[in-house]
């Protein structure tokens, strides 16, 4: 591939918020003249912030899975559900297709995010030139699927509001759902703080 110029080499800087292309005057507090947003060559402290958020999300993810997210009480019979037991229940009671959707949203997506972001952080910090294009795609996948993990949280909210038949049947949320909601929000923040341009900032050979 011939050399594709990068903004940093040309002394340019692009505004993320409005798309304006500006000359880089190397000021630390520069703002976009069109939309007023701060301009950075790279998101500031991307590595340390993303690591911090990722670790925080992982800490919340443990109680989110271990603690039950929902309690069903019917005629004195108490049944606590975790994320995984909810998936198994769906599978066993005849909706394997939906069980796969919930399993993907609640378990595959968060775990994939932890692995993918860790991989991106480690490889970029080592200035690796390995599979840069695929790593870029991996990052876009993480960004795109991130918020679908809120699925289970909304399911619990709906069932809590609907299943209020007093003695016969009642659903109430349990702390696991709070940890899970926070995990999703924090992993979303983590992928927003990661600067994908770092993937390409390896040693300065161009392609």
């Amino acid at each position: 591939m011939s050399t594709l110029p990068r903004a940093g080499d040309l002394g340019l800087i692009g505004c993320h918020v409005c798309g304006l292309v500006c000359r880089d005057i190397n000021a630390s507090d520069a703002a976009c003249p069109r939309c007023g947003s701060a301009l950075h060559k790279r998101k500031s402290a991307s590595y340390s912030r993303t690591w911090a958020l990722l670790i925080a999300a992982f800490i919340f993810y443990i109680p989110a899975n271990v603690l039950p997210i929902m309690r069903t009480v019917s005629v004195g019979d108490v049944d606590d559900n975790t994320i995984l037991s909810g998936v198994i229940e769906l599978w066993v009671k005849g909706s394997p297709d939906l069980a796969i959707i919930v399993f993907t949203a609640s378990i595959v997506v968060p775990v994939l995010k932890f692995f993918a972001l860790s991989l991106l952080l480690i490889s970029s910090q080592r200035r690796s030139l390995w599979a840069q294009r695929q790593r870029s795609k991996l990052f876009r996948l993480v960004e795109f699927i991130g918020y679908w993990s809120m699925l289970d949280v909304f399911v619990v909210a709906l069932l809590t509001a609907l299943v209020q038949f007093g003695f016969f049947s009642e659903v109430e949320p349990l702390p696991g759902v709070i940890y899970f909601g926070l995990t999703v929000v924090i992993t979303m923040l983590a992928s927003m703080t990661f600067d994908p341009r770092l993937i390409w900032d390896g040693r300065d050979f161009d392609d």
Binding site: L20, F139, Y147, V153, F168
Partner: protein, 215 residues
């Protein structure tokens, strides 16, 4: 080629940029006009640089108005009704939020209120506002703040996730209860279609399509 320097504003407005900078790898390209349905991709990292604008400003505004109508319907009508032993219970989005708050899951209630109610409303109102003025090529009062806010709240609207969540909840409830769909769920279905239609539109092009009045 003259480019504005960061931090300076010129007296006669800022011309639309003639370059694309890939947000994912910082590669610079000359802008060109895209043909129908064409998508410009970055040669280095394959990210989308720009898409052909299939929709005029009027078309975008029509979609926003449709979304607003669907959103109002989705929120005033119950979404679904459950029945057990002749007793019926239905709920709306706000029913869920209030219930979660009362059941000591205030964090979840706040998250749901923001991602399913306030963020979508904010987004639709701000879009309607800037698009209404953009029809005549003008920038609405507060254009800059509105556009920056739209960019910031963009990732936090989750109505489409809620629609899927409703389907999962219905299937789960169906194992034990009688389930009756209500108008709210159909309104949410329409909303989901509009959101999908809008998802490929980059509203940032309004920066290039409108002129600052002071200029």
């Amino acid at each position: 080629m003259t480019l504005p320097a960061q931090g300076t504003s010129t007296p006669n407005g800022i011309a639309p940029p003639t370059l694309w900078i890939c947000e994912h790898c910082d590669t610079v390209y000359h802008r060109r006009v895209l043909t129908r349905r064409e998508v410009a991709r970055c040669a280095r990292c394959d990210a989308i640089l720009a898409r052909h604008h299939g929709l005029s400003i009027n078309g975008m505004l029509a979609l926003v108005v449709t979304a607003m109508i669907a959103f109002i319907q989705a929120n005033i009508w119950p979404i679904v009704t459950l029945g057990l032993n002749g007793q019926h219970i239905s709920t709306t989005l706000w029913g869920c939020i209030v219930m979660m708050w009362r059941e000591h899951a205030q964090v979840v209630a706040a998250l749901a209120a923001f991602t399913l109610f306030f963020a979508p409303i904010f987004k639709m109102v701000l879009l309607g506002w800037v698009l209404g003025y953009a029809r005549s090529g003008r920038r609405a009062p507060g254009f800059r703040l509105a556009m920056v806010t739209l960019y910031r709240i963009g990732p936090w609207t989750m109505s489409e996730v809620f629609v899927l969540g409703t389907l999962v909840a219905i299937v789960k409830a169906h194992m034990y209860f009688e389930v009756i769909p209500d108008p709210g769920i159909f309104a949410y279905g329409v909303l989901m279609l509009v959101i999908t239609a809008f998802s490929s539109i980059d509203v940032r092009r309004l920066w290039d399509l409108t002129q600052d009045e002071r200029a």
